[in-house]
Symmetry: C2
Subunit: 317 residues, 2 copies
């Protein structure tokens, strides 16, 4: 028995955090990780190449057992097809992220699966290589290739992804003292449906406005310029189309802004909404958002988090 | 005579650099200054409030003498209307930037005018205040309020402007060793006409692609990431519509890229094209671009510049 073979793992478990995609001004390209909740995946080496899903637990029931229809399964299949490790993967998924919440649950399952499987390989891949496999998995659930949840779940923090075929990832610094307040109303929204309502075109004036805001937001993050972040934290393209799907949206956003939020918008495809604020304002922003959802007849869960994370990682099984 | 009144200037001259707007991925919001050429304006205090244009010299003939129709004059009128200094401005304009070249000539005249006039005020204004007056001037020539030439000419360097009514300006660092190569084919293009051909909408997929590139470009600048700058230095929205107005566009761009350019696109509304490259590649990029324009039957002027500038400033009259 060689030293190498003795170190081979038979089984590994990874945690991948939830994430808030779009971040108002970065539709399909920007997201941040939310590491107080996430999915776990335990991948076990099997003799026969291929992928099986042995089961699941947690907050989501009835996860598809067909790996082609399962986000973790499809990501693992993409990995198998590409690197042909000479053995198979069995996955057991532990869902911590509610389905249809806008918190990147399908991305997290795909990311946890590839990070766990990576630990079983003789030659582990880089995170950028894993990103492509996880993208394939997420496409099963969202209906299209996109990375704005995958990248932050995998890398951690506020993450910009440029390109799909040859993605490049940039972790953007978030000024110290900023907190994200996430409020999840109890309501299911399908990502596919939330994409389906979007108009196929963007008005030129909205395009210019949104790009200015994106530029301002990113510049503000790199330079600790809270005034610039606040001034540019506004989605003029997507939010007005999707907000109709969220009961109480206008009141929740107004409540957050009136209580000192730097910005407040939809997390991914929704219905979760999030705000950014300074630490000192986070509790009152959260309370105001929760109260506004309650006034609209919606019970909620909420979280206040710092946007700092190492992204997906191996954990004890 | 008080100390204050004795320091009052009767006349001041300011230089405002040329600029390249849009920078591929920042249509109407981004531009960089080009300080090897520019316009000068000498403003003289007159007894009667109001604005006169006493004359002009330089590369542009037949500048309108009616201040309402002159970019410098309109900017000075906006300043008069706002601050009511109790005296008037006469302007003499020295044009160093060719008309209809895509190098921000109308912006530079407006900027030079307000910077010179500012030196005559008892209480000089900030550059951000001057920006609003210069914008009014530029609108005379371009037909709309925009700031992507005004801001770099006034502040210097690579400049992002967020907002029109309450503009915020961000000077974005450009990695050391980068040079801008500008090649101006002898051909007049009207900014109004070049805006007129643009479609009123942007396809959602192009919108996403362009925002990814903008985010990548700005992130790349803040982090000295030349690979990211190169990967994201591509306009998928405006360039394909306007490039038809520039003879040889495809060949010039291809020549620049084949010789090591990080990116190559239209300067503002054109017809000037510019590339960015490392210092070591700048001469061969320039030579290749010039040769491609010549093959298309166009004579050219060209400049190689570092993107560093203090922006508009007072100079000896």
């Amino acid at each position: 028995m060689t030293a190498q073979s003795s170190s081979k793992l038979h089984k590994a478990t990874a945690f991948a955090p939830a994430s808030a995609a779009n971040v108002a001004i970065g539709f399909d390209i920007l997201g941040f990780s939310v590491d107080v909740l996430g999915d776990k995946c335990t991948v076990t080496r099997t003799d026969k190449p291929g992928v099986t899903i042995s089961g699941s637990s947690g907050v989501v029931k009835d996860i598809p057992r067909d790996p082609e229809k399962n986000t973790a399964g499809r990501a693992l299949l993409a990995m198998q097809e590409s690197i042909k490790p000479g053995f198979g993967f069995d996955a057991f998924i532990e869902k911590g992220i509610p389905l249809g919440s806008g918190l990147g649950g399908s991305a997290a399952s795909a990311v946890a699966a590839v990070v766990a499987a990576n630990a079983l390989l003789d030659k582990p891949l880089t995170k950028l290589e894993l990103l492509k496999f996880a993208m394939q998995g997420e496409a099963v659930s969202s209906g299209s290739l996109h990375v704005d949840n995958i990248s932050p779940s995998l890398f951690g923090g506020l993450v910009l992804t440029v390109g799909i075929d040859n993605p490049r990832v940039k972790q953007i610094p978030v000024p110290n003292g900023i907190r994200a307040i996430l409020v999840h109303p109890h309501l299911f929204l399908s990502t596919k449906a939330a994409r389906g309502i979007l108009k196929p075109d963007v008005k030129m004036s909205d395009f210019i406005w949104q790009t200015a805001n994106l530029g301002g937001f990113i510049s503000g993050c790199y330079t600790n310029d809270l005034d610039m972040i606040r001034a540019s934290f506004e989605d003029v393209v997507i939010e007005k189309q999707r907000s109709q799907l969220i009961p109480g949206f206008d009141a929740v956003r107004a409540a957050a802004m009136a209580n000192g939020a730097l910005g407040c918008t939809i997390s991914g495809a929704g219905p979760t909404m999030f705000a950014w604020s300074l630490d000192a304002d986070a509790v009152k922003v959260r309370d105001a958002m929760v109260a506004a959802f309650q006034a609209a007849g919606k019970e909620t869960d909420d979280w206040i988090v710092a946007i700092s994370s190492t992204g997906a990682c191996l954990v004890p099984g």
